[in-house]
C-alpha cells in the first residue's frame, strides 16, 4: 500500500486539477476546431483515431449542435496511430498522409495538428512537415492534449500561423482583426462575430472576423495588414495578439466585455 500518497486521511493528497465535467477540451481540440472554423483550411491530425470524431461530439455538437463541415467529424484526415506506430514511430505514416491529403483534398492551407501520441513517442513531426515546405502551404501546430486546454489550442494555432505562414505587410488604414472568439466554444459564436462585424462597419471599420467566411484563408493572409487587433475576451486571444505585435508590430487592445447599451 503506498502510504506516501495519503497526505490527508480521507482522500490522499488533493489534486486540484482533477476536474468534474469541464466545459472545454484539450489543446488539440482547440487547434482542430480553430482550423475547422476557417473555410479553406484543411486540418490534418497526427494523433490517435478518436481525436477527430471525439471532437465532433465534444466541441461541435456541444456548441448548439454545430457540425464541423466536410473536413470535421469523421472527415478529418488523421494518421490514426495505433500500437505499431507507438513502437516503431508514426513518421512514415504522417509523411504518407500529408502527401495524399495535398493530392486529394481541396484546400488553401494545410494545418497539421499533432497530439499526445507523437509527442510521447518522440516523432519529429517538424522534420516531416519541413519536407513539404515551399511546395504546399502548410503549418504545424504542436498541440499535445496533455499540454493545455482548447483555449490554449486556439492560441497555438495563431502562433504557428504567425511563425510559419504569415508575411509582414503594409498597414491598411481602417482595418482591424477580431481575436479572442474561440470557435465552437460558445453557442452563439457565429452570430456574435457577424453582429460585431456589422457593428464595426457602421463606424467605418473593416473588421476581419477570420472565421465562418468562404474566403477564410484570404482573411488569414491579411491579418498582418490590420491597423489594430481587437481582442474580445479578458483572457482568450491575448497570446495570439502578443505574437502578432511581436512579429508585425500590430498594436492590440482587449475589452473585458462586449458592447453594452
Amino acid at each position: 500500500m503506498s502510504a506516501h500518497l495519503s497526505v490527508t486521511e480521507e482522500l490522499g493528497k488533493p489534486h486540484l486539477d482533477v476536474l468534474e465535467a469541464p466545459r472545454w477540451s484539450c489543446a488539440l481540440g482547440g487547434a482542430l476546431t480553430t482550423a475547422l472554423g476557417i473555410y479553406g483550411v484543411v486540418p490534418i491530425l497526427h494523433s490517435g483515431a478518436g481525436c477527430g470524431l471525439g471532437h465532433q461530439f465534444g466541441m461541435t455538437y456541444a456548441s448548439g449542435e454545430n457540425a464541423g463541415g466536410a473536413l470535421g467529424g469523421t472527415g478529418t484526415p488523421c494518421t490514426c496511430l495505433v500500437e505499431e506506430h507507438v513502437v516503431f514511430g508514426g513518421e512514415p505514416k504522417l509523411r504518407n498522409l500529408i502527401k495524399s491529403t495535398i493530392e486529394l483534398v481541396q484546400g488553401d492551407l494545410f494545418a497539421i495538428v499533432s497530439g499526445c501520441v507523437p509527442s510521447l513517442i518522440g516523432d519529429d513531426t517538424d522534420a516531416i512537415v519541413r519536407e513539404f515546405k515551399g511546395k504546399s502551404p502548410l503549418i504545424h501546430v504542436k498541440a499535445p492534449g496533455f499540454g493545455g486546454t482548447s483555449y490554449q489550442g486556439y492560441e497555438l494555432f495563431f502562433e504557428a500561423l504567425a511563425d510559419q505562414y504569415l508575411e509582414p505587410q503594409p498597414v491598411k488604414k481602417g482595418t482591424i482583426n477580431l481575436l479572442g472568439v474561440v470557435p465552437f466554444q460558445h453557442l452563439f459564436w457565429k452570430g456574435n462575430l457577424a453582429a460585431l462585424q456589422a457593428a464595426f462597419a457602421k463606424i467605418g471599420l473593416d473588421a476581419n472576423i477570420i472565421f465562418t467566411k468562404f474566403n477564410g484563408v484570404e482573411n488569414l493572409r491579411r491579418i498582418p495588414s490590420a491597423e489594430l487587433n481587437v481582442v474580445l475576451s479578458p483572457w482568450n486571444g491575448h497570446r495570439a495578439a502578443t505574437k502578432f505585435e511581436q512579429k508585425f508590430g500590430t498594436p492590440w487592445q482587449s475589452s473585458s466585455r462586449g458592447p453594452r447599451r
Binding site: 503506498s2 500518497l5 482522500l11 490522499g12 488533493p14 489534486h15 482533477v18 476536474l19 468534474e20 465535467a21 469541464p22 472545454w24 484539450c26 481540440g29 490517435g48 483515431a49 478518436g50 481525436c51 470524431l53 471525439g54 471532437h55 461530439f57 465534444g58 466541441m59 461541435t60 455538437y61 456541444a62 448548439g64 463541415g69 466536410a70 470535421g72 467529424g73 469523421t74 472527415g75 478529418t76 484526415p77 488523421c78 490514426c80 496511430l81 495505433v82 506506430h85 505514416k93 509523411r95 498522409l97 502527401k99 495524399s100 493530392e103 486529394l104 483534398v105 481541396q106 499526445c116 510521447l120 513517442i121 511546395k135 499535445p144 492534449g145 496533455f146 499540454g147 486546454t149 482548447s150
Partner: protein, 517 residues
C-alpha cells in the same frame, strides 16, 4: 459447426479482452465481392492493410464509450486521460435533451464524470496518485454504486498501473470500481472498445445470480438505435409478458448486476452484443442468440420467436405476430408498392447502405421487403463473428460488392459516385457523400432522436423507416442546395480513377516510403 473459425472462450481472469484482430481476425480494409471476402476469411488470408490516406474514425474510447458510459445512473465515470478525451460527453448531453421525460428519459440527467486531466508533469512522473484521488473524490462527491475508469492513449503509453490504483482504493470506498482498458492506440478496430467495456462489466459488476428472472430479456444496443426503438422493443416484449433489461444507456448499476439472472440475451446489434452474450452464457448459463436483429417484418418475427423459445412463450408469440401483422403488413405493402412504382420503368430503386457488420446482415433482407435493390454494401468492419451469416446472406441474396472501412468519408464518397445508386444511406457523421443530386438520407438517427418517424426497430420501426426513405426520395432540396453552394472537398481526379482504395497499398504491412520529392 465444427468447421467454424474458433472463437476463444472469454477469460475473465485477464485485465481485459483480446483485441478484435486477435479474437476474430477483424479487419477494416477491404474492397471487392462479398464472396471473395468470405473465401479469404475461410482461408485465413484476410489481412488488414495500412491506409496512406485515412480519416479520423473514432478510437476505442471515443467512438462509443465516452458518449455512453457516463449515462449509467448511480455511477460515475473517471477518465484517466488528458482533458480532451472526455469532451465527447459534453455533446452527448445536448443530444439527449430532445427526449421528453414523458417518454422515459430521466428528468435529471446530468452526466456524472470526472477527468484526471493529465498534464505534462503527469506524463513525466506518472499519475497513479491523481487517479486514486479522483476515485475517492468521485465516491465522496456522488456516493455512486459503481465507478468506471476509462483509459486513454496517454495513460497507456506512459504505463499507468490501473489495477494498482484500483487495488489501493477499492478497500476504502463503497462503490465498485470497474477499470476498462480502452486505450485508443490499442486496436485498429473500434469494436474492440465494446468488448473491453463488456469485459469490465462481466468481471467486476455482474453478480452471481441470486434468483433467476424468467421474464427478463437482456437488450444491449448501439447509439444508432433511437429512443423509439427502445419503446417498440418494450411494447412487443410487454405484450408477451416479458421485461426488457436495457443496457448500458441510462441503465442503473442494478440493471447491469442482474444481467446474469435474465432468461435470454437478445441482440439489436450482434457485433456489439457478442462479447457480453458469450460471457453471460459461459459464466452464468444465460442463453443467447445473435441473429436476427429486429429490423424489418420477417426479422422481427424471428427475433421474437427466438426470445419466445427461451422464455416459454412459443404459443403467445404466434398470436402476437398474427396480431401485429394485421396492423403493419398492409402498411408495408403500401410502401413496397410505392417504391416499386417510383421509377416508372418497372425497375427497382437501387440503394447503397453503410454501417456496422450487424446492420449489413439485418438490413439487406429488410431492403428486399421494402422493394429496394441493394447494389453494394459498406460495413465498418468484418470479422469471423459474422462469417457464417454473411455466407448465408450471399447464398440467399446473391453476391454483392462490399467496401469495408470505418468511417472513411472519401472512400464512401467515391463508391457512392461510382455506383450512383438511386438512394444512398449514410451514417449521420459521414459527411461528404451528401453532395449528390440523387436520393440520399441518413441510414439511422441517434438515440437522442425521439421522433416516431426516426424509429427503425420492430414492426413500427420497419414502417417508420420505410416511410422515411420514401420521403427522402421526394424531398431533395437539401442535397441540391449542398451541391450548389458548397464545393466537393475532394479533387475531381478522385472520382475519375476506379478504386476507392487508391491509397491502400497491397502489402499487409505498410512499406515505408522515401521522403517527399
Amino acid at each position: 459447426m465444427s468447421n467454424e473459425p474458433n472463437t476463444p472462450a472469454i477469460d475473465l481472469s485477464t485485465k481485459t479482452c483480446p483485441n478484435r484482430e486477435q479474437r476474430a481476425n477483424g479487419i477494416n480494409v477491404f474492397f471487392g465481392q462479398a464472396s471473395e471476402l468470405v473465401a479469404k476469411a475461410r482461408e485465413g488470408t484476410l489481412c488488414n492493410r495500412e491506409r496512406e490516406f485515412q480519416q479520423s474514425s473514432g478510437c476505442l474510447l471515443n467512438f462509443y464509450l465516452t458518449v455512453r458510459v457516463p449515462t449509467i445512473r448511480d455511477a460515475v465515470t473517471v477518465f484517466h486521460a488528458p482533458v480532451g478525451c472526455s469532451s465527447s460527453a459534453l455533446g452527448y448531453r445536448e443530444l439527449y435533451r430532445g427526449i421528453p421525460p414523458g417518454l422515459g428519459r430521466p428528468e435529471r440527467f446530468d452526466l456524472q464524470w470526472i477527468t484526471t486531466n493529465l498534464n505534462e508533469n503527469d506524463v513525466v512522473h506518472g499519475a497513479a496518485d491523481k487517479l486514486a484521488f479522483a476515485l475517492r473524490e468521485a465516491d465522496r462527491r456522488y456516493h455512486p454504486k459503481a465507478i468506471f475508469i476509462l483509459t486513454s492513449c496517454t495513460a497507456g503509453i506512459i504505463g499507468e498501473d490501473l489495477e494498482g490504483a484500483v487495488a489501493e482504493v477499492q478497500p476504502r470506498i463503497n462503490a465498485t470500481i470497474v477499470p476498462v482498458h480502452c486505450e485508443g492506440v490499442r486496436s485498429r478496430l473500434v469494436q474492440t472498445g465494446y468488448d473491453a467495456f463488456w469485459h469490465g462489466i462481466l468481471k467486476y459488476l455482474v453478480r452471481k445470480p441470486t434468483k433467476k428472472q424468467p421474464d427478463l430479456v437482456n437488450v444491449a444496443s448501439m447509439l444508432s438505435y433511437t429512443w423509439q426503438d427502445r419503446l417498440e422493443v418494450k411494447r412487443l416484449l410487454g405484450k408477451l409478458g416479458l421485461r426488457a433489461n436495457f443496457v448500458p444507456e441510462f441503465a442503473s448499476v442494478e440493471d447491469l448486476e442482474q444481467l446474469s439472472e435474465a432468461a435470454v440475451t437478445a441482440p439489436l446489434c450482434p457485433t456489439y452484443t457478442d462479447y457480453l452474450s458469450r460471457g453471460l452464457e459461459q459464466e452464468y448459463g444465460v442463453p443467447f442468440f445473435l441473429y436476427p436483429s429486429p429490423m424489418g417484418i420477417e426479422n422481427t418475427d424471428n427475433w421474437l420467436r427466438e426470445i419466445a423459445m427461451h422464455t416459454g412463450k412459443e404459443k403467445e408469440v404466434e398470436d402476437l405476430i398474427r396480431e401485429e401483422h394485421a396492423v403493419w403488413v398492409p402498411k408495408m405493402e403500401k410502401i413496397r408498392a410505392e417504391f416499386l412504382s417510383l421509377k416508372g420503368d418497372g425497375s427497382q430503386v437501387s440503394v447503397l447502405g453503410a454501417l456496422g457488420q450487424g446492420r449489413l446482415l439485418a438490413q439487406t433482407p429488410y431492403f428486399h421487403e421494402l422493394g429496394l435493390k441493394p447494389i453494394a454494401a459498406i460495413a465498418q468492419d468484418f470479422d469471423n463473428l459474422v462469417l457464417a451469416e454473411t455466407e448465408q446472406l450471399i447464398r440467399e441474396r446473391g453476391d454483392f460488392p462490399i467496401l469495408i472501412n470505418t468511417f472513411q468519408a472519401a472512400e464512401q464518397a467515391h463508391l457512392t459516385q461510382t455506383l450512383d445508386p438511386d438512394l444512398t444511406l449514410t451514417c449521420p457523421f459521414q459527411g461528404t457523400s451528401y453532395k449528390r443530386r440523387k436520393g440520399m438520407t441518413r441510414i439511422h438517427a441517434l438515440r437522442g432522436d425521439a421522433l416516431p418517424t426516426s424509429a427503425q426497430s420492430g414492426y413500427a420501426g420497419a414502417i417508420a423507416c420505410g416511410e422515411f426513405l420514401l420521403r427522402s426520395w421526394k424531398a431533395k432540396s437539401f442535397q441540391q442546395t449542398m451541391v450548389e453552394k458548397t464545393e466537393d472537398p475532394y479533387h475531381a481526379w478522385w472520382y475519375e480513377q476506379p478504386d476507392p482504395h487508391h491509397y491502400v497499398p497491397d502489402q499487409p504491412v505498410r512499406k515505408e516510403v522515401g521522403a517527399a520529392e
